[in-house]
Amino acid sequence: MTNKRIDLPQGTLDLLILKTLALEAQHGWAISERIQQISSEVLRVQQGSLYPALHRLERRGWVKARWGTSDNNRRAKFYELTRSGRKQLVDEAAAWRKLSVAVGQVLDVC
């Protein structure tokens, strides 16, 4: 099972995080769980690379962090999408679709 999982292409983790946060604000652990669930256990999201990516996105101003209380009444750092983050999500999603279509076309031709 584990062998069939594929590593995330570089740069796509940001896209997945932005997409996950588009619905609602989440803390890091919930984000990693959500990505695992949605990608039906095919994608292997390294938890170690999740937090550096979140901090990078926060620095870029695409997500905003605030401290809140989690379901089990613990202090947790919640991330939410900013307006420029929403725009970034649209741009990156469009770029990704374009890229995957183009790569698919090349593979079909050959």
């Binding site: 292409p9 803390h27 652990w29 937090y51 870029r60």
Partner: protein, 280 residues
């Protein structure tokens, strides 16, 4: 592997929030570190609980959670790298190291400081010279309107040009070495200029005392030679009799009553700082 191309159009607002983020990471380091620790521990706890619910023992659940995160300390280090302050931090560390090394070897430090001082001093000196010689405006009425027409004209040629031109005011000068006697005693020679009568009025230079050489002084060639002493000639003693001559020209004896005609802040149009101006 594919790299998604991101738009690089950074808005001013985003650049500001980026800057604020980095400043916070730099100057509220303790808080930021504590937050990082809290955040990652929160993650580990949740991940451990998840494994516990799956029926694992606590020890094993915690171990797996840590491994999945890639180690707590290593994760922290990777997060720090995405704060964008690594460059500044290593710079601060390097400066601190440099200072410690300099304090340890005072001899070397002194040599470095000395060579820097000499280098900067030499540059300053050369700049001052260039500034004075090439860039500073001449202390005359209209320096930008001043043109050197030609060098090597004879006085006769100058007069012909002057009398036949309607366009510009003209003045002529020529360097000369003057013999000097004070009260009959021969003094060392001084640099001087032979100047036309229009010289001082054209340059708009006024004497500190007395009068300048004027157009009236040069109506008759060698008619009545007069001389002016520049301010820089030093302690020209009053009451003494100065005589100047150069070749066959002998200038009228100059008796300094109070201190004679002298020019302040003006030497001449050349670098040789003539001390005496004479009518031709």
């Amino acid at each position: 592997m594919a790299q998604i191309v991101r738009g690089r159009r950074a808005s001013a607002g985003r650049m500001l929030s980026d800057l604020l983020y980095r400043i916070r990471a730099l100057f509220r380091r303790k808080t930021v570190e504590m937050e990082l620790d809290d955040e990652l521990r929160f993650h580990l706890e949740h991940q451990t609980e998840k494994h516990l619910r799956a029926g694992q023992f606590r020890e094993e659940a915690m171990r797996r959670a840590r491994i999945e995160l890639g180690g707590l300390e290593q994760s922290k280090e990777e997060c720090r790298q995405s704060w964008g302050i690594g460059l500044i931090e290593s710079l601060v560390q390097d400066i601190g190291y440099a200072l410690r090394v300099l304090v340890k070897s005072p001899g070397f430090t002194a040599a470095v400081a000395l060579s820097l001082a000499l280098g900067i001093g030499a540059n300053t000196a050369i700049f001052s010279l260039i500034d004075a010689v090439m860039w500073r405006m001449l202390p005359v009425k209209d320096p930008a309107g001043l043109w050197v027409i030609d060098q090597g004209l004879t006085f006769q040629q100058y007069r012909t040009v002057r009398d036949n031109n309607q366009v510009a005011e003209l003045a002529a000068y020529s360097a000369v070495r003057l013999n000097v006697s004070v009260d009959g005693n021969i003094e060392p020679t001084v640099d001087g200029q032979l100047v036309s009568g229009s010289y001082f009025s054209l340059l708009g230079v006024n004497p500190a005392i007395g009068r300048t050489i004027s157009v009236d002084d040069d109506r008759v060639p060698n008619g009545h030679p007069v001389a002016m002493i520049s301010y820089g000639i030093g302690n020209a003693d009053s009451g003494k009799s100065y005589r100047f001559w150069a070749g066959r020209f002998r200038f009228r004896e100059l008796r300094l009553r109070s201190s004679g005609s002298r020019l302040r802040s003006f030497s001449a149009l050349r670098l040789a700082w003539p001390r005496i101006f004479s009518s031709r």
